[in-house]
Every structure is written in C-alpha cells, then in structure tokens.
Amino acid sequence: MTVGFVMLCHAALDRAAQVARFWAEGGCPVVIHVDARVPAHEFGALRRMLADLGTVSFSRRYMCDWGSWSLVAATQAASEQMLALHPDVRHVCLASGSCLPLRPVQELVDYLDARPGTDFIESVTTSDVVWTVGGLNTERFTLRFPFSWKKQRFLFDKYVDLQRRVNFRRSVPKGLVPHLGSQWWCLTRQTLSCILQDPDRALHDRYFRRVWIPDESYFQTLTRAFSTNVESRSLTLSKFDFQGRPHIFYDDHLQLLRRSDCFMARKIWPRADRLYRSFLEGGAAGQIRAEPQPGKIDRLFSKAAERRRRGRAGLYMQSRFPRQDHENGKTSAPYSIFHGFSDLFENFELWLSRAVGGGRAHGHLFAPGRVEFAGGETVFNGALTDRAALRDYNPHMFLTNLIWNTRGERQCFQFSPRDNQAINWFTATDPNAQISVISGAWAVPLFRSNADFADVRAEAARLQRIETEHLAILRSMYVKARVRIWTMADFIENPMEPLQAIIDEISPRATRRLSEAPRMADLTGFGRFLQNLRNQGMQPTLMGDFPADSDPRNAAPLGQRPYLVQ
C-alpha cells in the first residue's frame, strides 16, 4: 500500500517538478493540477521535466482563484484521477506546488501504514474557529458569496450587508455539520471515494459553490459525514499570519524545520535553494524520528504575529508610531518623578541614588538651562545630549527615548514648576509613571534667594499658577499614573513615612529600611516669608498652613519607625 500525492500548482513550476520527482522516485504516484492561467510553454516545460516518470500524471486544468470553488473542483478532478489510475493507493495527500517534504517518503508511508483507517484533516466547527479572515464564521455557510473578496471587495461587502439586512439564510444540506480547517489534508481512499461518489454529490457541490472559501470547508465538512476515524490535524506544517496569509520558509529556517519532525511544510520560498537541496537530496534518513512537533515553529510565528499586532511597549520608531491612547504602553518601563523634593531637601538626588540602589537618580531633566543628567553627564544612554533646545524641540520623544534606552534600570528625576511642562499630560496618563508631589516647595528657593522682593513676588505668582495647572492634571479623572500629592506643610510633619512608601514601591524587594533622612533646607523664617508675600497681595496657597510667627518643626523625627505595626 502506498500514498498518492495530489499537487495544486500555479507558480514556480520547476520547484513543483523537483518535489513531484522526489515523491515519484520514492514510489508514490503523483497527480498534478496546473492552474489554467499558466502559459502553455511553461506547462509544456513541466511535462517534459517529468516525462520519464510513469507514475506522474496531469489532471484537467481549472482557472483557480483564491477562496473560490475552482480550487475544490480542481482537487476533485485530480483526486478522482488518482483513485482511478492507482488502485494501490490507500491514502491521498493534498499538497501544493510550494510544499516541501521534510522527511523521506518511506517514513510517511510507514507512518500511514501504522494508521490505515485514519483521516488526517484539520476540521473544526465554526463556533470554535478564531482564525478566519473578515470575521465571517457561521455566515460563510448561511449567506451567498458570488463576488470575489480579493477583486470585488466593494460588491462583496455590500452584498453581505444586503443579505444581513433582509435576513437571508441558506440552509445547510441535511446531514452536514459545517466544519473548517486547513486545506492541506491526507484522506483514506475509503473516505475520499465516499465523498466523490456520493449520490448527493451534485447537491453538495451546488451548495458549496456559493460558500465562502469552500477549499477550507468542503472536504473538512464532508469528511465528518463519512469518516470513521478523523484525526483533526494536518500532516503539512502550514502557519498563517494575523491576516490569514501563509508564512514563508527560507534557508535560515533549515534547522527549525529539521527539528520539527513534520512530514511536509508550506510555503517554501521558491529560491530557498538550501532548503530544497537539503530535504530533497540530503540523506536525512536513518535518524530516529518522533511524532511531528511543530511547537518551536509555532512559537516563532506567533511571536511574529504578536510583534505585528502589539509591538514592543514604549517603542516609537519609523514603523511603529502609535496614535495617542493606542500606544499599548506609553513608555517601556516604570519611572519616578519627584516634584518639589529637591527644593525642600538639600542634595536630594544624592540621597535618592543611595536609597534606590539599582536605579538612576537624575536632577531636573526638564530644567530650562540644560538637561541635568545624573552625575552631571553631558551625554547619556542612546547618545541623548544635555542640550535643552534639542530636548524642548520634542520633549515627549526625549522622555520616551530616555526610558527606552535605559530598559532594565529604574529612572528617577526631579521636577518643578520651573521646568518644561510639556510632558505633564503624557506622564499623568502613563501607568508606568510614579509621580510624587510636594506642592508649594518651589517657594523654598525663592525664600532663600537674595533677589528683590518684587521679582520674588512675580516669580512666586508665576510658579504657583504653573503648579496649580499641573495639580489639576494630576487630579483629573484621566490619570493612570501612581500619583501622590502632599502639601509642603503636611510633608514636613513626618517626611520619613511618605519617603519610605515611595522607595518601597520603587524597589519592593529591598527589605532594608531607610536609615538616613535627606537633610531638609533650613526653613527658619519661612512662615514670615509667606506672610510677606500675602502682605504684598500674593496669596500662596499650595504649601499648606505655615503660621507666620512659629517656625515649623525643622528636624525630621528621625529614628521613628513609621511602619511599625503594634
């Protein structure tokens, strides 16, 4: 007993000839269907190439279009010819001209000899299918599709709409349950002849003629009606991408295909010389072979589909530039913004870099003069520079570039109302951002500055306006960031507890408690300063309550363990 191959070819006929020769010389008869569109001289060349092989024959030629009935008609004709000409064939395999056998013919024959009554055909009920193009599942079988999806898309869509509107439904012939699956199958003579010689075949054919993509459903459905033993998988390794187009194999897939232990793969790029040479000429026999394991290849292709659909989070580049709110990750990694901390504490960055350990603590990245990278660097990861003009030309990209370039290292930076505010909406709506705000802390540098009070007053009014706007953003309903806001007065009451909470969130596994508090600026007379602003007609509201005459508690209550659970 042997296996017969039915090949459907329309291009790269020299490769098809190579594969047909491989099977024929391995003792398997081959029936080739060549698309009627192929010019006569090419068809003649193919015939001549295979003229010396007695078991290769050519079936009646149909003009085949993707997803049309003609493909099924061509398969039927070729299969009938196979069954009639070669009585010793027990299994018939449907293959395409771009299929490549990955294992010696004899191994396939042995495999099928061990499973004489089994039909290998992927066949799934419509409700369980997720891969279909165009979202038509059940409707493939209940509507009519006289127009080509590829060439007459407008009419196709309109006609589907019309049928839906008038509630048109075709009824499925009695005894059939619609099934779908890969069109590359391997059926037994018994099942195949049942399908082809069924007294109701004319009825079935008439019905499937108007089903959409009948080559994925005709044999899949009818096999279920006649077969006694269906194994719902294809012996041909064939993967489809997210748009329903087959993946193509190249020379660099050689090892992957070898290790897959599948019997056939499609599609192969016609100029993949190394693949054709290795599998058709190389003596791959003699190895101990196992059941087909397409898992590795599945992973490769599903990763490719995932990359095409979702991409790498936080990456903005020439072929991935998502619209706002379609980003699938505005940035690539979590980062922290400390708003007002460097005003209230002296050398806060230094303290922060010690506290977060593995992270990077920058100064004010959006400062007006220059980008204050950690350690006073002038160039940073990815060759970002400290030039403010370059950063301000596209602040969003500056931030996303910085986070992307430093993947794997937590970035922390200082912020204040004096900085470029262009990124405020972006960071507030980014789930990766951790934003901690001490409101009103911008007043501390003013309080300690030696400027004229009129200038101080004007500057205070400006900064307060900017910070109020920022706080309004951070309190809006659209916020996705982890936001914490304290007034300055609240914060200095007990600075260690909020600091500990922030640091714990940055490095959750660090069990060490903060032993040392950052040193707070000297606030003696700050209340008086705020009162002076008030006296000048400017109302400072963001820093909380600082009585004019009593100095706030200056020293942070060190040694207190804020988390202590009693």
């Binding site: 993946h247 100029r271 990359r307 020439q318 530039f321």
Partner: protein, 337 residues
C-alpha cells in the same frame, strides 16, 4: 482630515511633479543604456552621483550581492572618471547631465523620469552612493525574498530610516580606500536620540536626530536633517517622490508605520557620509551651492569641520548587524519571520 479638496490638491501636485519630471527628461543625455537586459520581476536601483568614483566599486558590489539586477545612474557632471567607470559596467545604464542639481529638485525630477520610464511594475530602490540598505534577515535572505514577501502581503512600499554612521576620532584619521567597506571605518552610530513627528499633509513620519542633530543642530533642531526615507517601492508610473526619498505621492505609500501599536517591517539605510572624503566634498559643494536649503547642512559641516570633527561620544554604539538594530528598536521585522 484634509478632505476631498486636499486630496484633489495632492493629485494636482502629483500630476505637476510628473509633468516636471517629463519635461526635464531632455536634460539627461544617455551615455550607455542597457535597459534591454531588464527582465520581468527584476529589482532596479536608481541613483544620482557626482564625483563618487572612489565609492562606486564597493557600492556596486554591495547591491549586486543583495540581488539588485540593474542599476540606473544619473551622472551630474562628474570629472573624476566615475562616468567612464559606470559606462563600463555591464549591469548599469548611465545618463549624464550638466543641468542644475538644485533646479531638478536635487535630482528627484531626473530619477522620477527614469522610474516613470523604466521602473513601472518593478521593485525599485532609490539610494545615494553613500547609503547602504539593511533590512531584516539581509544576511541570510536576498532582496528578492523581501520583495516577494512584500508582494504576497500586498505591501507597496518599505521604509528605511537613514542611520548616520561615523568613525571614532578625526575623520581623516583613517583614509578611505577604493573598494573598502566604508562601515569598517564609520562603524559607530547613535542608538536612541531620534525625534519623530507626523506630517499630516503627506501622512509620513518626520524623523530627525542622530549625530548631526546632536553636534551641529543642537540649538536649531528644527533645521536638523530629515532621516525618514522610503527607498524601496513597487513602482507604478503614476507614482512620484516628492522630496528626496523622504515621501511619495500618492500619499498612501507613506503609511509605512502602524498607528495602533503594532510594528510594521522596516529597514535602515546606513549612511556612510562621514569619511575622510567629506572635507573635500564640503568645499566643493559650498562653492557650487547646489544643495538643499542653500546648502545649510554643508555650511554647518564646514563650521564643524574647522574645529573638532569628532562625532563620537561615549554612548555611541558600534555596528554589528541588523539584529542589533532590531533589538535597539531602530528597525523591525514586523510579522516577517
């Protein structure tokens, strides 16, 4: 949304550009035309060049190895023997012109004409002699594998961002020899300082950044050189390039990026401009004044070359292969696997 009126205006603009290219065909004088060799499905390369004799041997070798079948050159009044050299090449067709590069929109009109005349139905690659096309799997799959795949995916255009390459140390420290791979010398690049914005009219992305923006245009970023390019197109005679290969009309060809978070496939053009040959070129181009925006870029080079011609910094990346560029996020495999 630009609306019907805007769409119609772009159509008029495209017709006008094609008409311009058609009129300028008379500026091109054939030197050696071998277009009879071209077969169906051949990949064609189009290039304008001026005095690039020293670069041409490696350039031709690189693209022949990739699988380009025929080269179209427009020689803009060279006097260094490059015209004779190209005329001898069996797979090159050569035209020459003394007309103004600037008035031919920096060569775009000439190439638009040649593509209109010879490129119809072919995959066409438009590059400069100092640009080297890198695409996913370019080390294991020829260019034909990419174009076949693009055909099956019904994709008409393929983007490749210009990636400026530069040497470490002074430009003249390692003189470039004829036939040498320039990436051996200029093997450093900036990996993550590119700035992207949308161009609503033509729907392309506008990319700036890299070492030139970092060192020469850091106070005037708006004028930093444009880096987005779409060099590989399945050409129809109704298509035209608008400005260099940065964007095309009809503008659907410019939609080479995904806007819903996915990655489309893309490549890079390694730009080996910064070699020992640059100072002489800058001097020549400044006197000719035939380059974009009053040769603004060349004036910036001249200023920069005077004091410290060092583009390298400690965060520069050394080029290894396309996979490195993929990991860094400068290009993508998309769903090609």
């Amino acid at each position: 949304m630009v609306g019907d009126w805007g769409t119609y205006r772009l159509r008029l603009e495209r017709k006008r550009r094609l008409w311009r290219a058609f009129r300028r065909r008379r500026e091109l004088h054939p030197v050696s035309v071998r277009t009879g060799q071209i077969r169906r499905g051949d990949i064609l390369l189009f290039c304008t060049q001026r005095n690039e004799r020293i670069r041409l041997p490696y350039f031709l070798r690189y693209y022949r190895d990739l699988g380009v079948n025929h080269f179209f050159f427009v020689d803009n009044d060279s006097d260094d023997g490059s015209r004779d050299y190209l005329a001898e090449q069996a797979d090159c067709s050569l035209w020459t012109t003394q007309a103004s590069y600037r008035r031919a929109r920096f060569g775009v009109d000439w190439l638009n004409w040649l593509q209109m005349r010879h490129g119809h139905g072919h995959w066409t690659l438009v590059v400069d002699p100092d640009e080297f096309f890198v695409y996913p799997f370019c080390d294991t799959r020829p260019l034909g594998a990419l174009t076949d795949w693009l055909d099956t995916m019904s994709i008409r255009s393929f983007p490749a961002m210009l990636l400026d390459m530069y040497p470490r140390g002074a430009l003249d420290a390692q003189p470039y020899r004829e036939g040498q791979n320039p990436i051996e010398i200029a093997c450093w690049f900036d990996s993550g300082n590119y700035m992207i914005s949308r161009n609503p009219t033509y729907r392309n992305l506008w990319i700036q950044g890299g070492p030139r923006a970092r060192t020469m245009f850091s106070e005037d970023a708006a004028h930093a050189p444009t880096l987005n390019k779409i060099p590989l197109v399945k050409w129809r005679r109704s298509y035209c390039y608008v400005s260099s290969t940065h964007m095309l009309l009809p503008r659907g060809l410019n939609l080479t990026h995904d806007e819903r978070g996915g990655e489309k496939p893309s490549g890079c053009l390694l730009h080996a401009k910064f070699l020992s040959t640059l100072p002489a070129k800058v001097e020549e181009e400044l006197t000719r004044g035939e380059h974009y925006a009053g040769s603004l870029e060349y004036r910036a080079y001249a200023d920069r070359l005077k004091d410290s011609p060092e583009l390298w910094c400690k965060w520069s990346e050394q080029y290894i292969n396309w996979r490195q560029l993929e990991i860094l996020g400068l290009m993508s495999k998309g769903n090609w696997a």
